[in-house]
Symmetry: C2
Subunit: 105 residues, 2 copies
DNA sequence: CCCATAGTTGGATTGTTGTCAAACAATGCG
DNA sequence: CGCATTGTTTGACAACAATCCAACTATGGG
């Protein structure tokens, strides 16, 4: 369960990022990460009305698209927005999307 | 064949815009519109390797998501990026996406 | 060592999407 | 009017995606 694969920054594809964020559940997860920073998977999907395995699939989609990072710490897994990679590769994109999603600054 | 429905600006949804642009073919069409302005459907899908009916479905997806406008003139249908609506609703989003897609300024 | 907790994985199902082909519709030209 | 051009619609099909359930893995606490 350790160290799930993340794509290299150079391998992050624009259309895959957009596809990952085109699902309302995944968008909500991204918004939570933007607002609350690094949180656990349980917190990320709390009250979203999806099964934990469904949430896990969404984390995988987001991770493989390069949108989030995950980090294991003890029994918990923390996920966070992959700001560095996204900003480096697509300047201004994440901010524009979060602004459009009404994330409080 | 006239006057296909476009959503009102207020009804344009972020996740639908992202989904529309998450397909490489549709992204390429959007890039062409950004570079060349208003062009015909035939020009928009030229050399893309898709059947014209497939292209038509993509125009529909883009139009219903609020990404493009279409306008009939004689036998031709011209499509263009819906900059006004997108910029009004999601400031900076379209520019960030086009920048990420390497559209020349 | 057992057990509860936190996530992932695999299977099954259901629905969506991308594609082509063929038929259709609308427009203007000769 | 016929006919070529331009694009849409419909049907079919395969591939993909979202979901749940069940089984599994890993970790730490008692």
């Amino acid at each position: 369960m350790r160290l799930l694969p993340h794509p290299a920054t150079a391998d992050i594809q624009l259309t895959e990022v957009l596809r990952a964020l085109s699902d309302p559940i995944r968008m909500e997860i991204a918004v939570r990460l933007a607002v609350r920073g690094e949180i656990t998977c349980t917190e990320a999907c709390d009250d979203l009305g999806v099964h934990k395995s469904t949430a896990s699939h969404h984390y995988r989609t987001l991770r493989e698209a390069g949108v989030i990072m995950s980090r294991q710490e003890g029994r918990l897994k923390y996920i966070s927005l992959r700001r560095d990679g996204l900003d480096a590769r697509f300047p201004g994109l994440l901010d524009a999307i979060l602004l459009a999603a009404h994330v409080p600054v």
